[in-house]
């Protein structure tokens, strides 16, 4: 049991109210925490995925079936309304809607992650950012599976294969950090202000129509376009569409804008975590 002996010479200062930690130091500490608790992270993700579909007849198949059914419904309705070919509209819709839903469910679930972890936070020491991290990771795994499965179906229905899909891992990573950042921020906010999940849900159901998911931006009047361009999700949906479909040239800013948003979200999330550290457990 060498690992226990190694710890025995270890000094752990649990808390010292006379010294405070700077933000860069906190970021370093966060990375160290994740490395130290990586087994807890992977364990929670694995069991979380397993619990979700346990005892359902179709099991993991639902993570494919769920988006597929909503895609078919929306594609049928709007291809009829907009008078468009259902196949090409369906493919266009798939490339935008799935990433949108990934952002929306990740952030909504992550908002609840800290209060749902009350049972753990009050009984053992765990770094609190672990819980939004776990939630977003679970949604990411789900997203990757459904994206892969639906992409194959889309190819079958006549989507053209584009080599840009091999850039998808980078895109997913950018999405992941964006979701994690906002998720960390909102999960803490929810501890202090329990209306947060309701506001987030309403916001995302409105954003679904305010983001060019079922339509393209150029269908809107000029002055409305300018307002819609303030919505960060637009750039995420645009990037994922460019990469999945490969139907338009990519520009530098198509990548840079989502990257900047993801980094800003991550910094805001970490800052919120730092500000609330040691306070959350008293407010659950």
């Amino acid at each position: 049991m060498d690992w226990i002996e190694r710890l025995e010479n270890h000094t752990v200062t649990i808390y010292d109210s006379t010294t405070s930690i700077t933000f860069p130091q906190y970021l370093v500490k966060t990375v160290r925490d994740i490395l130290q608790y990586r087994f807890a992270w992977s364990n929670f993700v694995k069991t979380g995925l397993r619990i979700r579909y346990r005892r359902s007849v179709l099991g993991f198949f639902w993570s494919l079936l769920n988006p597929l059914i909503s895609l078919v419904v929306i594609a049928t309705a709007f291809s009829f309304l907009f008078n468009r070919d259902i196949k090409s509209f369906g493919i266009f819709l798939f490339a935008g809607m799935l990433p949108y839903q990934y952002i929306s469910t990740s952030i909504q679930q992550a908002t609840l992650s800290l209060i749902n972890a009350e049972g753990y936070l009050k009984k053992v020491y765990l770094p609190q950012m672990l819980f939004p991290l776990i939630t977003v990771s679970i949604e990411t795994v789900n997203f990757i599976f459904s994206l892969f499965a639906l992409y194959i179906i889309a190819l079958f229905f006549g989507a053209t294969f584009s080599p840009t899909v091999f850039l998808l891992p980078i895109v997913i990573l950018i999405f992941f950090f964006f979701n994690l950042g906002l998720g960390m921020f909102l999960s803490v906010l929810n501890v202090f202000f329990r209306d947060t999940p309701n506001i987030v849900t309403v916001l995302f159901s409105a954003l679904f129509y305010a983001t060019p998911v079922i339509y393209t931006l150029d269908r809107l009047p000029e002055n409305l376009q300018r307002i819609f361009k303030l919505n960060p999700l637009l750039y995420f949906v645009k990037l994922s569409r460019l990469v999945i479909l490969g139907d338009a040239p990519m520009h530098f800013w198509d990548w840079m804008i989502p990257i900047i948003f993801a980094l800003v979200a991550l910094l805001i999330g970490c800052w919120m975590m730092m500000k609330s550290e040691g306070k959350v457990v008293y407010r659950l």
Binding site: M1, H10, I14, F39, A40, R194
Partner: protein
């Protein structure tokens, strides 16, 4: 010799909410209301200016009435509660045996819970694997180990928790109350294992309402009242002090007093 656990002027402030989760409307209304109904809470000290040094080999018992701050003290040592002022230094690894339902996910099977506990406490998976069979045998769960813990009887549940939580040899052991283990045959087994763990650990913290139990295990006792350490010394004298000065007078603890006041207020 360096103390294993050091408290320097440690205070913990706890909020007791009458309405722990104000909604948007309530928060908004209470911004203007004279009588702050929605966000009303009272802050009281669960621990107040505690100074403490625990050295290697000491077995420390904590006596106090409900709400005196016993559990809070253990949670501060375990790193769960962060004190609002002061400094806590712990030199070593803490094994907390706090509440019986500690960090068990009822949705997971007994076996999955073994691994989850290991992961949460940063115990290497190989080590957990080497202990897995021993834990299952000790808990006497048999085939039930593959059933989600929510289907367990109370006795099975506490047997599982006990067997998992005692899988590692502790460095600094902190125990809150005695693990309630279902049937009498298990209690005996559990007590023996607990006594074995006490011998292996460098320092022991023990909280119980049962003076006899504390006397049997501990050589030093802290007497807590309303968040303060009001006496500290050899166990026999302290047990005597506790009986004479606290139990006989039996003051209402801080939390209880707060609730009584709130009730009076509400009833006009």
């Amino acid at each position: 010799m360096m103390p294993i656990i050091e408290f320097e002027n440690v205070s913990v402030q706890v909020r007791a909410y009458t309405n722990p989760t104000p909604t948007l409307k309530e928060t908004f209304v209470s911004l203007f209301a004279k009588h702050k109904g929605a966000t009303s809470y009272a802050e009281f000290f669960a621990l107040r200016d505690v100074n403490l040094k625990i050295y290697e080999g000491e077995r420390v018992g904590i006596l106090g009435l409900n709400g005196a701050g016993k559990s809070t003290m253990l949670k501060v040592i375990a790193g769960i509660y962060r004190p609002h002022t002061g400094r806590v230094i712990v030199r070593g690894e803490v094994t907390p045996l706090l509440e019986t339902r500690a960090a068990i996910n009822p949705e997971l099977t007994g076996r999955d819970n073994i691994y989850q506990y290991g992961a949460i406490h940063c115990i290497p998976a190989e080590y957990v694997r080497s202990k897995e069979q021993e834990i299952i045998d000790f808990s006497e769960l048999g085939d039930f180990i593959n059933v989600p813990a929510k289907y367990y009887s109370t006795g099975m549940f506490s047997r599982l928790v006990f067997s998992i939580a005692t899988m590692i040899d502790p460095d600094i052991l902190i125990i809150d109350e005695v693990f309630s283990a279902g049937d009498s045959s298990f209690v005996e087994k559990a007590t023996n294992r607990l006594l074995g763990l006490l011998d292996k650990s460098r320092a022991v913290f023990f909280v119980s309402h049962n003076i006899e139990q504390v006397l049997r295990i501990c050589d030093r006792i802290l007497v807590l009242q309303e968040g303060r350490v009001i006496n500290d010394g050899p166990s026999v004298e302290m047990a005597q002090f506790y009986k004479e000065n606290i139990i006989s007078k039996r003051k209402i603890g801080m939390v209880n007093r707060f609730l009584v006041e709130k009730l009076k207020e509400r009833n006009g």
